[in-house]
């Protein structure tokens, strides 16, 4: 209670002072009046009243002291004093605040990215219960792969640890009969999907068990945004029929506005398994998510599913042999290796903050020398060391707070940039915001920063020799102690900068190496878009092939187009399709021992459109059609892996999986060069190619090579497609170069950020060493003057100053290299083709740092040699 009143008094202090004055005045007046009434002359009455009252200032202080909260009031006093100090020396304050803004801003921005992407819980009830389930086959090189339907159904039936399991697929479906045909991001999922996420539709209902039966599965739940954009938010939409993939679906629900699927989804439809699904045990194409029962740990859930999976492997060795269950917390599965990269970046930006702190500590130490006398006077007047330190720390806190305020503005601005420019493959990046957690982080880091850079100077100042400081004349020589301290700080700065530069250097080298890697195809001037022929209207291979033929003719005729081609998926699109296969005539293998490779279904001009060279045999021609002999081509990696030391041409290969209307098989007629289909950082996978005309494949991508850069061609392509089929939606048309760049986007992002941090560190370190040398020169102006007067060579004076800087530099670099070697291991996962101890990087980085440091010290050193001996000697 008393605390509250005192706190209130603190904020009304001026008013309280005035009231007290008035109260005491009225007391004196009353006493005087009484004395006058008793016959004392007015003059004397007043004197006597005052005498009885005593020292009024003392009383006032005493009275107001009853209000004071001790530390808080003196702290506010210190802040006011600090503010005045800053106004006295705005240059210093500006530099300090800007440096801090940079440090705290970058740190806060980086943390908020980490918080949103990695740390934040998933936005569903009891998010820790959510799991992602996979099957893996390490022997075949699939550590985490999709689940086959029968295995999923067995997990669902036999587990004891999950409240719900759901299987799902993300597909692209076509909506027709509702304005222009449209591709919708479609979630095809088993009935429990809503229970897993713990969210029910806001309008209508989710899937029932009956909806997941074949024949009843034609119902759809809209996401909120789809409901708003396509149906104008009409609540009467329930029960309405929409045409999806040429079939009528009934709208049964609308998701709440606040609900987000882990990846953007427009509509959800039930996944119904055919009665004979049990035969598909070897077909891995489902994603599985689950919700653990309350109180069940991740390990218990994992054990449970792993046990079932082991039993299945024994029960069905042909299909499940070699496969094992992989159970991960959903958040971990989503974030993946992005998390470790972001932690490294946060660490890097923290080093930057340390450098900024060292810089400001240096400035403060230099300034403390100028303030020695002020502090000595305070001590002489009775301020304790603790009190002096408190005052100086309050000033530091003030600086840090102003830096943080500016830094938050900077962070806000930076984040908008990061969200806009950041790679799409970093999950949840669009949800980055300066929320409460981030603010708390900013406040804590501000206070920590203030202590980091303020404590040493404050401690030193408070310990200053009282008598000496008072005796000293205006210009102090600066104690040896504090000079050493400043040198140590600059050394630390140099070491930290070297560490950051090394990290950035390694990432740049790795990126340059990757970007210079030949992807195996020429992406320049190639555009691509996806098409999907609905099975309801393109019911057989013949109708699919007819459309594809006329499509190719149509596109070929578009002005500017030199080659048009089709493929089941373009390189680096990660919509891969692989299948096990057998070579006819070779000894038969058990299914689990059958090799598998990537399969691409292409039109004859595919290799020409991407400039992929033919190595052996022939490419496909228009003569390879339905009904003509089946043919295949393979990549160099496939030839090397599966036909070592033999000629693959003429071998007949049959694939197990089927993506279109026809089985995939044929005689190998040609071999082409490798393509790095899974990104520049992964080896080219063994791949087989089949002619699209023989496969009846309705989901494909179009590739169009143009003579040169072609801006307006997208519209021509789109209308070309629509002229063949009005109900065929054309997806986004993108340049192949963008597709390639997207695979490098996360690395580019990390590299750019780390380079930015290390560039800032370099600037700060340069400023730091400049400050120390410039200060040392100004302190030694007198000495240098004497040397010059006695005939010292100016060059030798210059060398003397530079030597001083060189010692700091050498020491800082030695420590920095040692620390960088020790710490660069954390970068290992982010580097490709470059060792963490890459000597070239270390040498280059060392040279850059040395150049900056020497440049920073040459400026003040040259000034020293221009000292006029007469002026220097006359000084004092």
């Amino acid at each position: 209670m008393a605390f509250g009143r005192k706190l209130a008094a603190l904020f009304r202090s001026r008013k309280l002072d005035k009231e007290l004055d008035e109260e005491m005045r009225s007391h004196l007046e009353m006493r005087t009046a009484d004395l006058v009434a008793a016959g004392v002359p007015p003059e004397e009455a007043r004197v006597r009243a005052l005498r009885a009252f005593g020292n009024s200032t003392f009383i006032k202080e005493e009275t107001r002291g009853m209000d004071s909260l001790g530390w808080l009031e003196s702290f506010l006093q210190d802040l006011r004093y600090g503010l005045r100090q800053m106004l006295h020396n705005p240059g210093f304050a500006l530099i300090a605040v800007l440096t801090l803004a940079l440090g705290i801003g970058a740190n806060t921005a980086m943390f908020s990215v980490l918080e949103a992407v990695v740390l934040r819980q998933l936005p569903y009830p009891q998010p820790r219960q959510l799991m992602a389930l996979y099957e893996g086959n390490p022997a075949k090189g699939f550590p985490r792969f999709a689940v086959s339907p029968p295995n999923f159904l067995d997990w669902q039936a036999q587990n004891h640890t999950f409240s719900y399991l759901a299987a799902l697929n993300r597909e692209s479906w076509t909506l027709t009969g509702h304005g222009e045909p449209r591709r919708l991001r479609t979630l095809v999922a088993t009935a429990d999907i809503f229970h897993v996420y713990g969210m029910e539709p806001a309008l209508g209902r989710g899937f029932s068990a009956e909806d997941a039966q074949i024949g009843h599965q034609h119902v759809v739940v809209l996401s909120h945004s789809t409901w708003r954009t396509l149906f104008g938010g009409d609540p009467g939409v329930l029960g309405r029929s929409v045409m999806l993939e040429g079939t009528a679906y009934t709208v049964i629900g609308v998701m709440p506005a606040a609900f987000r699927w882990p990846k953007p989804i427009d509509i959800a439809v039930p996944l119904a398994f055919r009665a004979d699904i049990g035969r598909q045990r070897g077909a891995h194409y489902l994603q599985v998510v689950g919700r653990l029962k309350p109180g069940i740990s991740v390990a218990e859930g994992r054990n449970d599913i792993e046990n079932i999976s082991r039993r299945l492997a024994q029960q069905y060795p042909d299909n499940d042999g070699g496969w094992e269950a992989v159970v991960l917390p959903m958040r971990e599965a989503m974030v993946g290796d992005v998390g470790s990269a972001l932690w490294v970046l946060l660490g890097a930006v923290s080093l930057l903050v340390l450098i900024a702190c060292a810089n400001i500590a240096n400035l403060l130490l230099a300034r403390a020398n100028g303030r020695n006398r002020e502090i000595a006077v305070r001590s002489a007047l009775g301020a304790s060391r603790g009190r002096v330190m408190r005052q100086l720390l309050a000033e530091s806190l003030l600086l840090a707070a102003m830096g943080a305020a500016a830094g938050l503005l900077l962070a806000r601005w930076t984040l908008q940039l990061v969200v806009r420019m950041g790679p799409k493959n970093i999950p949840r990046l669009d949800q980055v915001s300066l929320d409460g957690t981030v603010m708390l982080f900013a406040v804590v880091s501000t206070i920590a920063t203030a202590f980091l850079f303020g404590l040493i100077p404050a401690w030193k100042a408070a310990r200053a020799e009282l008598v000496n400081s008072l005796r000293q004349s205006g210009v102090g020589t600066g104690s040896h102690d504090s000079t050493r301290m400043r040198a140590a700080l600059v050394t630390a700065e140099l070491a930290l900068s070297l560490m950051l530069l090394t990290g950035a250097g390694l990432l740049v080298r790795s990126f340059a190496r990757l970007a210079g890697t030949d992807p195996g195809f020429d992406a320049a001037n190639v555009m691509t878009f996806d098409l999907s022929l609905p099975g309801t209207r393109y019911r057989d291979s013949g109708s699919v092939a007819r459309l594809q033929d006329s499509l190719l003719q149509k596109l070929q005729a578009v002005p500017g187009v030199t080659v048009a081609a089709l493929t089941s998926c373009v390189p680096m699109s990660f919509n891969d399709f692989s299948s096990s296969f057998e070579v006819v005539g070779a000894p038969p293998l058990k299914p689990e021992n059958q090799p598998s490779m990537q399969v691409r279904v292409i039109s004859p001009d595919y290799f020409r459109s991407l400039n992929i060279p033919l190595l052996r045999g022939r490419t496909f021609s228009d003569a390879d059609r339905l009904g003509s002999p089946r043919v295949l081509m393979i990549s160099q990696a496939a030839a090397r892996t599966f036909f070592p030391n033999q000629d693959p041409i003429g071998k007949y290969v049959k694939f197990g999986a089927q993506g279109g209307y026809e089985a995939i098989e044929g005689m190998i007629v040609g071999e082409v060069a490798d393509v790095r289909d899974f990104g520049l950082d992964a080896p080219a996978p063994p791949t087989a190619f089949a002619p699209i005309a023989q496969a009846g494949w309705g989901d494909f991508s179009v590739l169009v090579r143009t003579a040169g850069p072609s801006a307006g061609i997208a519209e021509a392509l789109r209308s070309g497609v629509l002229s063949l089929d009005r109900d065929l939606p054309v997806g986004d048309i993108s340049a192949m170069q963008e597709v390639v760049a997207a695979t490098l986007a996360p690395r580019r992002f990390y590299m750019l950020l780390l380079s930015l941090f290390s560039a800032l560190a370099l600037v700060l370190a340069g400023v730091g060493i400049y400050g120390v040398i410039a200060y040392s020169v100004s302190q030694r102006a007198h000495e240098i003057g004497i040397r010059l007067a006695l005939g010292a060579d100016r060059r030798r004076v210059l060398a003397m100053i530079v030597r001083e800087a060189f010692v700091l530099l050498a020491l800082g670099m030695a420590i920095g290299i040692a620390a960088a070697l020790a710490l660069s291991r954390v970068l290992r996962g982010m580097l490709v083709g470059v060792s963490v101890t890459d000597p070239l990087t270390y040498v280059a980085v060392g040279l850059v740092l040395a150049a900056v440091a020497l440049l920073a010290c040459v400026i003040p050193a040259r000034r020293a040699t221009r000292v006029d001996p007469m002026i220097a000697l006359r000084y004092e």
């Binding site: 009143r5 005593g54 209000d67």
Partner: protein, 109 residues
């Protein structure tokens, strides 16, 4: 007159008791009342009064407000709060115990 403050807390007791008797009074009035009521034996040092009033008010035992005095002068009038009344009770009891104790010691000799 400093001797009046020899016993710590006496001033608080005097202020509380005076206000209990007067109902509502300004600082000068309290000084006068103590002097009169004690037959001039006790005088409140004016320099200690205002810090004491302020402190007691911070404790929540007094409330104050600005009013016009009988001679048309603005003055700050203090009065006891309910908590102040209880505090007076406590302080009075403890004071009486002290007096009884001291008296017994004196008589014993």
């Amino acid at each position: 007159m400093a001797q009046n403050d020899n016993l710590l807390g006496t001033l608080d007791l005097l202020v509380l008791k005076s206000l209990a008797a007067l109902g509502e009074m300004h600082g000068y009035g309290i000084v006068n009342y103590v002097q009169r009521a004690s037959d001039d034996l006790l005088r409140v040092e004016e320099g200690s009064l205002y810090p004491a009033l302020h402190r007691i008010e911070q404790q929540g035992w007094l409330a104050s407000e600005w009013k016009t005095s009988e001679n048309n002068r603005r003055a700050r009038y203090y009065r006891l709060t309910a908590a102040g009344r209880r505090q007076l009770q406590r302080e009075q009891e403890s004071w009486e115990r002290v007096v009884r104790g001291v008296t017994s010691v004196l008589k014993f000799a």
